[in-house]
């Protein structure tokens, strides 16, 4: 492999990391929003979200990215590959994150909410001061786990022409007729990304444990 090949793999790694991060930045709060609507048992919306989560969790990312990239323009919404990729990753991860947040909300002790009400807190204040600071700590390990899963399915965005790590490796293999070295280099890159994610989670967990005591 030439130095340029390594450089293009690293560029691909930049794309994989940037798009996954954007998907996470949109998908995690979106998942929380969906979980809160279900938690509040708002009629109709609750059923719609349950269906959304059920369908998205069963949809392969390849199929979803093709649907978004080809179907949105056909109903009059033009979309480029990069935004389509971000939207796909965000929608996919939001469904899984919704279930993680919802599990934390269901486990949240009712007595604390009643206590907050008794001291006159509005429900939004109680959420910001009482509920959220606790559920994000219990959800963190599952959220990071879902992020690693997202990185592992992210090569699906290569089908619409986004040059991520996997597609960069395929290109190099096609040019040099030696596919194994770029694929092994790509494996190392994914390994490093996933390792960093897991490490960040560990250090976040231990720092919050030091600050608040273990959850």
């Amino acid at each position: 492999m030439t130095p340029y090949a390594y450089f293009s793999l690293l560029q691909g790694a930049g794309v994989t990391v940037a798009l996954s991060l954007l998907g996470i930045v949109i998908g995690v709060p979106l998942g929380l929003g969906l979980a809160l609507v279900r938690w509040a048992r708002i009629p109709v919306l609750t059923q719609v979200i349950a269906a959304y989560v059920s369908v998205l969790r069963a949809t392969p990312l390849v199929t979803l990215v093709l649907l978004i990239f080809f179907a949105l323009p056909s109903i009059g919404i033009p979309i480029d590959p990069i935004p389509a990729a971000i939207l796909t990753l965000a929608l996919n991860t939001s469904a899984f994150n919704c279930e993680i947040w919802r599990a934390a909300l269901i486990d949240f002790p009712k007595t604390q909410l009643e206590a907050a009400q008794a001291t006159g807190m509005t429900s939004s204040l109680a959420f910001r001061r009482i509920v959220f600071p606790q559920i994000w700590r219990t959800s963190l390990p599952s959220l990071v786990n879902e992020m690693t899963l997202l990185v592992k399915v992210s090569p699906a965005i290569a089908v619409i022409g986004v040059v991520d790590i996997t597609r960069a490796a395929v290109r190099i293999g096609a040019e040099t007729y030696e596919p194994l070295p770029p694929f092994l280099a790509a494996t190392v890159l994914y390994f490093v990304i996933l390792l960093v994610l897991v490490r960040v989670q560990r250090s976040l967990e231990s720092s919050t444990a030091r600050k608040f005591g273990s959850a």
């Binding site: 369908v55 199929t63 694929f183 994914y190 390994f191």
Partner: protein, 218 residues
């Protein structure tokens, strides 16, 4: 829009052919991965480090590799070392290598929760070696792991879609080819999504039935 769905309906045989391939791949991959995974679990739980270490490396390695990358390695990489597989077999091989590692780890986890006295009792009545594993250890750990194994099967269903990239004629490939010929992207991919959803719900229902059976056996 109605027109789009009418076109897809007219070519439902192509979609159903893709669906049949997806189901075939999932069923064969699940069966083989369960067998290989059960063997892998014995390696992961082995007393000997020389057996345990390589198995752990394989499992940890697979957990860090995206499935598509492994499929590429099997499809494009194996021919460079002299092993040539067609797309379908390459896809199936990648599915089995990848998911048997996950299943091996799932079974090892269930095994470590098995009470020590249970295995001691089997030893006492003369079970040992392969028969002990097959008749005494494997049934309860498979039953205990059914919900997690069900999730893994859903993961296998979703991973088959990646195989369209190496031109395996599965469901997403079929939807994609219908959309490319008739330009009906919305209807074609929505139909595919609906079929994937039905498959996954099917797996969830089977898991529910087995769980109730396991409950009744206890």
């Amino acid at each position: 829009m109605n027109n789009e769905f009418a076109i897809v309906w007219a070519h439902k045989d192509r979609l159903l052919f893709g669906l049949a391939n997806t189901v075939g791949l999932v069923v064969i991959a699940t069966a083989l991965s369960l067998v290989v995974g059960a063997l892998m679990a014995t390696a992961l739980a082995s007393q000997s480090r020389a057996v345990r270490r390589p198995a752990q490396w394989l499992v940890d390695g697979m957990r860090c590799v995206p499935f598509l990358l492994l499929a590429y390695i099997v499809y494009y990489g194996l021919p460079t070392v002299g092993i040539r597989l067609n797309n379908w077999t390459a896809g199936l091989t990648a599915l089995v290598i990848y998911h048997s590692s996950y299943i091996g780890e799932i079974l090892r986890g269930a095994w470590s929760n098995l009470p020590r006295g249970y295995i001691d009792a089997a030893h006492a009545v003369g079970f040992h070696g392969q028969v002990l594993y097959r008749r005494i250890i494997l049934p309860p750990i498979v039953y205990a792991a059914v919900p997690v194994l069900g999730n893994q099967v859903i993961q296998i269903i979703k991973d088959t879609a990646f195989l369209m990239i190496i031109a395996v004629p599965e469901l997403t490939h079929a939807a994609s080819s219908i959309q490319a010929t008739y330009y009906v992207p919305f209807a074609a991919f929505v139909a595919a999504v609906a079929l994937y959803w039905i498959l996954c719900r099917g797996v969830e229902m089977v898991v529910g039935v087995i769980e109730r059976r396991a409950e009744a056996r206890r």
